[in-house]
Symmetry: C2
Subunit: 757 residues, 2 copies
């Protein structure tokens, strides 16, 4: 009843507001500047609906209560607007970050609860900024290619503006025209100018940095009703001269010659038609917020822009793609620079999911993710989700095997995710991924039930942990994490793919060869890479096989290398866990040796080695009380290196985790074939080991030509299977016939797995 009463008062208040003249710059001439606030993430209709439903929408009510509690506490404590000084993790950085989050929340609370103390909190803080900002020079820390004024980089300044524009929108009507004028003149316009006009190397890019910058300027433009600024956000800053060779401090190019800029360019280029973001899910998660929050604001304010329909609805598709790039626990897969543990519980994913639901056709699967997240955004989108959950519309968000194309046109390779029972195989055959890309074409990682079994190292960075290089990228990110040998793929002659050069790597991409997930018993992802090492062709086929004889599916991995000249090929397996047993004798060195001189090899210790006798090798390890085995075909004199990460690591920046490297020397062509199994369990409570041994008895190459490769798998039940792949024809329609060991195999399509009777 109380809410209803307040609502009536509000409507009366609104109708009595005198219509003020809009500025000449105004975006929308049909309403007064006061009449159309709030209008970014909260709308007037939305606020009315929220107030009407309060108390009966549990997930919204819970979020509101938690937010109110948090903000009340901070209001009581008082705020600080310190002179900028620190890198991330330091006091001034973290305080300014806290401030913008609090302003955004307080703004929403003001609208929803209609309690002026929240508006006053935002106003007081904004005026403190407006007083100090003009006195602050460029941030004193020099590391960034585009330094901010509040933070060490324009990126964080943009974060500030994206949040603050929402707060400003919410308290717009609470302020007098004079107050608004002061804030806009002393704070918002110079702030927007600094990250745009004064930092074109930051603003005029296609990059997550520029996305934040564009969204920041665009949202403040919408809040201030400033058409010039909005144009800048959507189309970039007009700059006469720019140097196409200029790079940022991560080594990424600023801008290609002739490249389009501005928000729409930033939507168009990095997203494939499937919604895959070329930098990978870690950065998509980060960029997702400005993409979607600005899109939402634009949709609310200028629906005629049809931002959610742009590029066949790619922003909404990206929500689905991003969620599919997470494991069963919601943790994102590691692709390119990425910190482990980032998940869809991150706050930016709350708005991603809510906006995806509200503007993307109310997909009931998103409601189950929102329910797990346990909170919603305090806006129209969050209300829609809360009402959906309340109405019991929730359905499970089912993640199946999926291939997500890369490249603006979807023709620059892909990520293939094969899901089979509890296993999730992430196979990467993408484009480079901009400045955050790693030189790891045809690499993979394997997860079981949310735990990484065969790892992608991720990045060398402890985000926001100031003790570790200010929380920024560590030098080992370049010397180790990006290098090919740090990944589960081929390094040729101890040199990284594309010579480890971004300039070269960013020109090429791998190509999908086969992706087939219709038959859940035999799923195949196969891809080719022909540019990583000129003159050498790589073709890797990964197969998940469900076999009713065993509790878990297993992975067959066929890496086929053909080259014009003789090379050394290294194929590492970054297994995580403790070695239980090998079937080969190795010589453990008394002290570890450094494996090589450059390209990441300088960070690896060789702990032990063995020479293969041409028979299958097997490694069994234990992780999280589960037994895993790797079985691989070898040739006589292949070298097996048991290694560990951590050499040339003067500040303990790296994790000392193990690897097994299979090395083939003086080979033109090479075929690496292996099986990875999760076959058993151990309980330290019952002390019982179940199925502690591998089920693979023998792996054998029974055919290998330019046209076909065939591998025989004999299991310990003595059943034998053969897997054949056509190496040149990937059509699913072609009929093939092949005789192997006097037996004829005939099948349709690019591959077959069949039992040998």
């Amino acid at each position: 009843m109380k809410t209803t009463f307040k609502l009536i008062v509000l409507f009366i208040a609104i109708s009595f507001v005198s219509c003020k003249q809009t500025t000449s710059n105004s975006i929308d001439n049909t309403t007064s500047s006061e009449n159309n606030h709030p209008s970014l993430i909260l709308t007037q209709q939305g606020v009315a609906a929220i107030r009407a439903n309060l108390g009966s929408i549990p997930i919204f009510d819970k979020t509101l209560a938690a937010t109110q509690k948090e903000v009340d506490l901070e209001i009581e404590k008082g705020f600080d607007v310190p002179t900028p000084k620190d890198y991330s993790g330091g006091y001034t950085h973290e305080t300014h970050k806290k401030n913008y989050v609090l302003m955004q929340k307080a703004g929403a609370l003001y609208q929803i609860l209609d309690d002026e103390k929240y508006a006053k909190f935002v106003k007081d803080m904004l005026f403190d900024y407006a007083k100090k900002y003009p006195t602050w020079p460029i941030h004193p820390k020099p590391r960034s290619y585009a330094r901010g004024r509040v933070f060490w980089q324009c990126l964080n300044d943009s974060n500030w503006l994206v949040y603050t524009s929402q707060a400003y929108d919410c308290i717009y009507n609470y302020l007098t025209e004079e107050e608004r004028s002061t804030l806009e003149t002393d704070l918002f316009r110079p702030f927007a100018d600094h990250i745009s006009k004064e930092s074109p190397q930051f603003f005029n890019r296609v990059h997550n940095h520029a996305t934040w910058g564009n969204a920041a300027v665009g949202m403040m433009a919408l809040a201030m009703d400033d058409a010039e600024l909005l144009d800048r956000a959507l189309n970039g800053v007009k700059v006469e001269n720019f140097d196409p060779n200029e790079k940022d401090n991560d080594g990424g190019y600023i801008r290609k010659d002739g490249q389009k800029i501005g928000f729409f360019a930033n939507v168009n280029e990095p997203f494939s038609p499937d919604g895959y973001f070329t930098e990978g899910p870690y950065y998509q998660r980060y960029a997702s917020y400005p993409f979607l929050i600005f899109a939402q604001a634009l949709q609310n304010k200028q629906p005629e822009q049809k931002v959610f329909e742009y590029k066949d609805g790619v922003l909404l598709k990206s929500v689905n793609a991003l969620l599919n790039l997470s494991d069963v626990d919601g943790d994102f897969f590691l692709l390119n620079d990425a910190q482990k543990g980032m998940s869809y519980y991150n706050s930016s994913l709350i708005s991603t999911v809510d906006i995806g639901y509200h503007f993307g056709g109310n997909n009931p699967g998103l409601l189950s993710i929102a329910k797990k997240q346990g909170e919603v955004t305090l806006d129209d989108a969050g209300l829609a989700v809360a009402l959906g959950i309340k109405a019991g519309k929730e359905e499970p968000f089912v993640k199946k095997s999926i291939e997500l194309s890369d490249g603006a046109d979807g023709d620059e390779g892909a990520v293939g995710i094969l899901r089979s029972d509890d296993l999730e195989l992430v196979y990467k055959y993408t484009a480079h991924g901009l400045s955050h890309g790693h030189f790891d074409k045809l690499s993979f990682a394997l997860f079981e039930d949310g735990d990484e079994i065969v790892q992608d190292y991720g990045m060398s960075r402890f985000v926001n942990i100031e003790q570790k290089g200010g929380g920024n990228y560590l030098k080992e990110n370049k010397t180790w994490s990006k290098q090919t040998i740090a990944h589960n793929t081929i390094t040729q002659n101890e040199k990284s793919q594309f010579k480890g050069k971004y300039d070269i790597g960013s020109k090429f991409h791998s190509n999908t060869y086969v992706f087939s997930s219709d038959n859940e018993n035999v799923q195949v992802a196969s891809a080719k890479e022909e540019n990583a090492y000129p003159g050498t062709k790589l073709h890797r086929t990964m197969v998940t096989i469900k076999d009713e004889d065993y509790r878990n599916p297993y992975i067959l991995d066929i890496m086929r290398v053909s080259s014009e000249k003789s090379n050394q090929y290294d194929l590492p397996l970054y297994y995580l866990g403790h070695i239980m047993q090998t079937n080969f004798e190795y010589n453990k060195l008394s002290t570890p040796q450094i494996l090589g001189k450059s390209d990441g090899y300088q960070h690896l210790y060789k702990e032990a080695s063995a020479l293969a006798n041409g028979e299958n090798i097997k490694l069994t390890w234990l992780l999280n009380n589960k037994f895993y085995s790797y079985s691989a075909i070898t040739s006589t004199n292949d070298e097996i290196i048991l290694g560990r990460i951590g050499a040339n690591d003067p500040a303990y920046n790296l994790r000392n985790e193990p690897t097994l490297i299979l090395r083939k020397k003086n080979a033109k062509d090479a075929l690496f074939v292996s099986i990875i199994e999760s076959h058993g369990t151990y309980s330290p409570v019952t002390e019982l080991a179940e199925d502690a041994y591998s089920n693979v008895k023998l792996l054998e190459v029974v055919y290998n030509s330019e046209k076909y490769t065939a591998v025989k798998l004999v299991m310990n039940t003595n059943t034998a299977k053969v897997f054949i792949i056509s190496n040149l024809d990937n059509s699913s329609e072609t009929a093939h016939k092949l005789e192997i060991n006097n037996k004829e195999y005939a099948w349709k399509g690019s591959f077959i797995l069949t039992e040998i009777k």
Copy 2:
């Protein structure tokens, strides 16, 4: 109704049984041998009560249903009694183990459900054993000092008999007299003889092995009603000659000269009056089952023995002691040989808790443990627990700080456990702990919220993982795990305490100096060790301090060393996690070096080192997204070694975990003072680091004499405290006065912590 009917039938059946003549050996002449079965863990009254309550006692019903399902499946599959061949982890070992567990369960099911298929299953299996056992020679695997016939060691044969005796008791009345005679003559008596008369080196000990042996023979004696065997179980085998220098394959003495033997001796000696088992909780967990199951059987069959009153009720006290030796998750602390992850969810703890409840005065705290365990024993004790839970009598089992004395008379040192909020400090100043003891006097381990932060390595063994040395003790257990340098305590001159010799170590024990936990803000455990290194005295005081300025308590550690001559002292800190920062510059070696030649040093790599400049050193590390810091006082030229476990480990048996060793050279007396804090958190989802820095500004020794040691603690809030301990007078009544830096401190008792204004 059906149950009631069956009950009546049963009573009628019993009353119609003709009274048979008991054998001359009979334990109890007042009833027929059939009338008093079952009588070990199930009694006739118990069975009646269980049947009467079935369907209304959820935890019991659930256990029963699960057991029935499991046994039914096995009955369907059929059983195997294979010729013994393997070590633990191998097929024959695991199968015989499975068999005895199944027989025990099937026996109970027969009694409770009155379904003859279960009795038949037990009978069939027993007859298969009775047919084969006489043909089996000593087990072929040679590793044990006391080889079994079914298993590689008598220990496992004893396990078999402990379980099988219960099964036999349950189906006793189902068998004809002739059948019983066959089983007893061909199987049970020779079986009991083998582990007792034929293996006195196993049976006549005070050791968990002998406990199992005694219980095995004793329980079968009670089941068969054989007074001679029972006497053997209670009092040992009379043997004329025994060699007091004889040792088992773990290096433990078989028996001291003049030592009492048999079950009561095994209760008396290893348990202190507080119920602490000298081998530590891992082995107490293992021995707990035979102790309590046999005690239960003895209580049921011969209450006049008053077994639960023996030694002032020590068996029941041991239940409480054992549960107190677990962390918040129920995982046992690591003391001596112990595998990580063992917890009170282990099956032997189900009976421990249930028997403890049923025979120990119905402590309602045990019901909450039983509820967590989620199952009960299918016997009278389990029924009591189920009825207690049903009646809502459950209360939390509160674990507070506790000191548990060691030694048969409680005067051989102790384990001190200080609990303060989420921290649990386990400080060891015990006797040696028999053959499973480690040379680690005055060592400690630290847990937070169930995670080990500063670790005790535990044992070098992968129990029942056949690939790792048959699942048995690995040689690294002796060369690494037991050695002093593997622990968080002093190693003098790179030699283990007591020269690493069991013969010497087992003669001595440390001594409690102070244990005070009344004031939750300042809890102290202090102990002295004067025999580990002749001529050197060690006195370590560990304090948990709650300080309202900080979110967590912290640990002050004062290790005072005084010696007659100059030595090198090494004090390691086996922190678990990733180094974030040190406040000292270290020189990282390009490749690790082996730290030493023997006494465990040969298993440590030196990765980096630094020379102290006399100021405090600080190490901050990250584990499970929590920040920890170690701050320590140093003297100029103290050496700081950053090391890692794993050298001389040819088969990857060791875990490659880190340590920091503080080394003082050429010192007679030395004082190691440090603080360990858990001060902050990190979230990979929000990427926020909170309180990432240590709160300790300065640690300083402000006084140190024979009589007193005083340490000043300055925190980053600039509050300063001083902790003073009286080194010679541990009375809580003595009044002390001490002037430090012109300020007088006066207090009563052995220590004081006071703020310096």
